[in-house]
Subunit: 118 residues, 2 copies
Amino acid sequence: MLNQSARLDLAYQALADPTRRSILAQLSRGPNSVSQLARPLAMSLPAVMQHLAVLQGSGLVRSEKVGRVRTCRIEPRALSLAEQWINQRRIEWERHFDRLGEYLETMNKEAQSHGHSE
Amino acid sequence: MLNQSARLDLAYQALADPTRRSILAQLSRGPNSVSQLARPLAMSLPAVMQHLAVLQGSGLVRSEKVGRVRTCRIEPRALSLAEQWINQRRIEWERHFDRLGEYLETMNKEAQSHGHSE
C-alpha cells in the first residue's frame, strides 16, 4: 500500500503530460477501449500504452480485459485526492487573507480612534 | 507566454514532490522568507533553493527581494488553474454517471411496461 504522499506524487506526475490529460479528459466522458483512446492521438499504439501504464500506476485509471478488449475507466477517488490537496491549500491561503484583512481593519480603527489624541 | 497546457505541465510537475508540497503548504499560511521555508526541511539551503526555483518556474510561487531578505508567496491563480482542470474532469465524469443512471432507469421502466405482454 502506498501512503498518501506517494500517491499524490504519482497522480501529479501522471497529470503533468498533455497526452495523459487528454486521455483523462476522454475517460471523464465515459469508459473507453484502448483502441478508442488511441484513435484521436497522433502517436503509435505502444506510446499510448506507455501513457496508459503511467496513468494506471498512478491509480487515476483502471482497466479490465473482457475477451480481447481492454476497457479503461477513470478512478474518481484518485482524481479527488489530487483535487483536494490543492483545494485545501487554496482554502488555507484564503483564510490567511481573511485574517490579514481583519487585522488591518482593527489596526485602521485603532489608528483612527487614537487620531484625535495624538 | 506559456499556453495553458504548458502551464499545467509545469504546475503538476512542481506538485509531484513532497518537499515542494510541504513548501506550498507552509506558504498557504502566509508569505515566508527563504530561511523560514528552509528551517523545517531536512536538507541543505541549495537543495531548498532548487525546489523553490521549480516552484517559481511553475508560476505557483513568486518571490521578491527587499534588502537582503527574499520573501516567497503563493500565486493563487496558478494554484486555481491546476485545481480547476481536475475539478472539470470530475464534474464531467459525474455528469456521465448521472446520464447513465437516467438511461438505466428508462430501460428498467420500459422492461417493466413490456413485462405483462411478453
